[in-house]
């Protein structure tokens, strides 16, 4: 305790040098928390969008369904089990039938997925209600802005679509684009045309069948469904988590650079202290301080820079980060498209206690190690030589 008090006094009384080092360290601390918070926010935002627009509270997958293998779609459909039908009628689940198809906009051929969904469903948050349109001349279709851009269509346009029915026979019809929706979730937009479930079931001869069934987030303990496998959110969000993790790892280099700048200045200060304060070290030894106590004192001095950095970070970094979390960062559309996960127009960072405390502890540990390295020299210092001062 005595050594801690002395180290604190020495640092505070060293004045500007201490605060400059602490400021440099605090920049690193704030930047790490800021960047890491950004990725956490990104992950949570993407997960939230995905839950709202794709996953709900989890999905039943037909046992042959593999989202990464389009060839499985030919066979990945089956009768909706009775117990699940009950959930669907109660609004606790919604089935989706997925069929491979080809669209023919302006004479071009574009492979698409036809997705049938119940227009009245409330589980997935996108405007499937537009598919209810009774007065539509043809089959109502809902697409996203990306799909519309790819197809070169606008609302009210007709589009010829061809598919294979349950027997493998090709069939074709015109669908009318009743709505072009704006969504941040590319997975319900790119290459997809949404049509009413009943219509798609009829067109393909897959009556009462589905490829996947999305359950409501309110549904606890989804029951087993014959022919289908339940995939919980942990499983479904794995891809997003992995993607965010990869992106986070890429920023470690930035963290290392940021911390290195601050730590080099602390290391430099420590080396300088050992030389400049050699007489002080000798005097401490003459007064009865053991070498270990002197080493601890000087190491604590260096390590306390992290403590001051935390204070500084709290003073200027906390308001800055809180403001950023409140207002968010505007993302250009091109950026959101390139991220491969659903991002909004603004990205809102999230800083958990674990992130803040963990980063502070990491900075403290690294600072202590960096502070200790030059101080080891004291262990070899003779009191008489230290008392003479100067450079050994």
């Amino acid at each position: 305790m005595v050594l801690l008090k002395l180290a604190y006094k020495n640092l505070v009384r060293a004045g500007l040098r201490t605060w400059l080092n602490a400021l440099a360290l605090s920049f690193g601390l704030v930047a790490i928390i800021g960047l890491q918070g950004l990725y956490i926010g990104m992950g949570e935002q993407a997960a939230s969008v995905a839950k709202d627009a794709e996953y709900g509270g989890g999905q039943y997958w037909h046992k042959l369904y593999d989202p990464y293998d389009p060839l499985t779609l030919q066979d990945a459909h089956g009768k909706i089990p009775q117990n699940i039908s009950k959930l669907i009628s109660e609004g606790k689940a919604t089935p989706i039938l997925i069929v491979q198809a080809t669209a023919y906009p302006q004479g071009r051929t574009v492979p698409v997925l036809l997705k049938g969904i119940i227009p009245e469903q409330k589980i997935l948050k996108f405007p499937t209600g537009v598919l209810k349109s009774e007065d539509v001349d043809g089959i109502p279709a809902l697409i996203g802005e990306r799909m519309a851009a790819e197809l070169g269509v606008k609302e009210g346009d007709y589009l010829t679509v061809r598919w294979r029915d349950v027997n493998g026979t090709f069939d074709a019809t015109d669908v009318k684009i009743v709505k072009i929706m704006s969504t941040t979730d590319q997975n319900i937009d790119n290459g997809q045309i949404w049509v009413p479930l009943k219509v798609l079931q009829r067109l393909t001869g897959m009556e009462e069948e589905a490829t996947i069934i999305v359950v409501s987030p309110d549904l606890k303990n989804p029951p087993p469904a014959p022919g289908f496998e339940f995939k919980n959110l942990k499983f479904l969000l794995k891809t997003i988590e992995a993607l965010v993790k990869v992106k986070t790892q890429g920023t470690f280099v930035i963290y290392i650079i940021l911390l290195s700048i601050a730590l080099i200045s602390i290391f430099d200060s420590q080396v300088f202290s050992i030389f400049k304060r050699k007489k002080e070290i000798g005097t401490l030894m003459a007064l009865g301080f053991t070498r270990l106590q002197v080493i601890i004192l000087f190491t604590l001095e260096g390590a306390l820079h992290a403590f001051f950095a935390v204070i500084l970070s709290a003073l200027y970094g906390a308001p800055l980060l809180i403001y950023a979390a409140k207002v968010g960062y505007a993302l250009p559309k091109s950026a959101t498209e390139s991220f491969a996960i659903a991002l909004g127009e603004r990205l809102y960072p999230r800083y958990g206690t674990g992130l803040i405390v963990g980063t502070a502890i990491l900075v403290f540990i690294v600072t202590t190690i960096v502070s200790y390295l030059p101080v080891r020299k004291i262990a070899k210092m003779k009191p008489t030589e230290a008392l003479r001062g100067g450079i050994q």
């Binding site: 003459a286 009865g288 003779k382 008489t384 008392l387």
Partner: protein, 228 residues
């Protein structure tokens, strides 16, 4: 019983193949309350002797017995603990900590002793009063004159009531007036506390105050005389 006793105390420094005898079989003993000084030209071994007695350095040969304990064999930690308890130092360049007040500088040796804040405060103020600096307790070294700084250093040396005070050229950086002032204070403390003072000096003003003068030359005791 002697407070300090050296037996064939020898310190050899090696410069290449050359051996330099900083101390050459020195046999001395000091009784409690002595006010003694080691005099001699530069390089005669005065500071080296103080370093040996203060356990800041180890002899090449011979023994140093302080307070009845053979100190040459102590490891650095034991030596630090021994110094903390029994030995006070006064340096030529004062060696005060610049960021600390006079009070805090004097308090330093007490920080490692098991004393309450009140006890520490009492002892520090007592020591500062002995050197007539109680009124400058809150001044930093940079705000004190050379004489005042050395008086703070003396207060720091005596605050833990050590048995032995080793003063290495304590007046070398002081003018005549301040030197006499500091010497008067040390003589007075020696009277009051009965601590053994050993000086390393070649200052005539200090020599006038000594009750025992030991002359060293080339690491050997050439004269050991009681002064009037």
């Amino acid at each position: 019983m002697s407070v300090i006793k050296t037996e064939n105390l020898t310190k050899i420094y090696r410069m290449g193949h050359t051996k330099i005898y900083a101390l050459d079989h020195v046999n001395l003993s000091f009784e409690k309350g002595e006010f003694a000084g080691l005099v001699g030209p530069s390089g005669s071994g005065k500071t080296t002797f103080l370093n040996m007695v203060g356990i800041l350095d180890k002899p090449t040969e011979g023994r140093v017995i302080v307070m009845g304990k053979e100190t040459s064999s102590l490891n650095q930690k034991e030596a630090a603990l021994f110094r903390r308890k029994y030995i006070g130092f006064i340096f030529q360049t004062f060696n005060l900590f610049p960021h600390y007040t006079a009070f805090e500088n004097v308090e330093f040796p007490l920080l490692l002793l098991d004393l309450s804040t009140e006890e520490r405060k009492e002892r520090v103020m007592e020591a500062l009063e002995m050197v007539n600096l109680a009124h400058r307790a809150n001044s930093k070294p940079s705000e004190l004159s050379g004489g005042e700084r050395q008086r703070v250093a003396i207060a720091r040396a005596i605050v833990k009531r050590p048995e032995i005070i080793l003063a290495d050229e304590p007046t070398a950086n002081l003018d005549a007036k301040n030197s006499y002032n500091v010497l008067d204070i040390m003589a007075d403390i020696n009277e009051k506390l009965k601590a053994t003072f050993i000086f390393a000096t070649h200052d005539e003003k200090v020599i006038k105050y000594l009750r025992r003068k030991i002359t060293l030359n080339d690491g050997k005791v050439v004269k050991d005389e009681v002064m009037k």
